[in-house]
């Protein structure tokens, strides 16, 4: 059952490569922002899985909470900046 959690983390890292593609070659700025948000929301689950693998869940859960808050604040700030900048950044 421990190896199941380990494989779960490896599969999750494989899945995280796909929004990385969208974040690198995305045609608009909104696509890049969305790709980074998708990577961040998967990292929250990955941190809890790492905590289960190392059997230190009590420490890694705090890191996951702080990472979730940081991801949310970063996405809000970047989207506010995007709609202040206006049309020329996002015109497809």
């Amino acid at each position: 059952m421990e190896s199941f959690i380990l494989y779960l983390g490896i599969v999750l890292m494989g899945i995280m490569l796909m929004p990385l593609y969208r974040a690198v070659v995305g045609p608009t700025t909104l696509d890049r922002l969305m790709g980074m948000n998708a990577i961040g929301s998967k990292t929250v689950a990955l941190i809890v899985i790492i905590g289960l693998v190392f059997e230190r869940v009590d420490m890694f859960v705090d890191i996951a909470l702080a990472y979730a808050m940081l991801n949310f604040i970063a996405v809000l700030a970047a989207s506010r900046y995007l709609h202040k900048r206006g049309r020329r950044d996002t015109a497809s």
Partner: protein, 110 residues
């Protein structure tokens, strides 16, 4: 019995993540991709965290405080992930990004 539930919840979360990523790669427009990311990532993360709480309840014994913190993370994701998606769509609309319509495909085929 609970092990089957743990494996089912974790695999369901992985399947939801995978579906969302396929949608992110293949859909035609930024708004449709945002819809896919917002819906499936939120549900996948919630289901996966529930499975991890059940796993820690069984195999790696957690204290009650750690389970409460994971449930706190569950509630936090439930509130903030749709809010972040809405903020991104709102930024796109205000910045003037035009949505994809069916007429674009017909025009391109002619």
């Amino acid at each position: 019995m609970i092990e089957i539930l743990v494996i089912f919840l974790c695999c369901a979360g992985m399947l939801l993540f995978f579906g969302g990523m396929i949608g992110i790669l293949r859909l035609p427009d930024a708004y449709t991709r945002l819809h896919m990311a917002g819906m499936l990532d939120t549900l996948g993360l919630l289901v996966l965290l529930l499975g991890l709480v059940l796993y820690g309840f069984l195999h790696a014994p957690m204290s009650l405080l750690v389970q409460f913190k994971i449930l706190l993370l569950w509630g936090f994701v439930l509130v903030t992930s749709p809010t972040a998606t809405h903020a991104m769509v709102d930024a796109g609309v205000r910045a003037g990004l035009t949505p994809w319509v069916q007429a674009d495909v017909k025009r391109r085929r002619k």
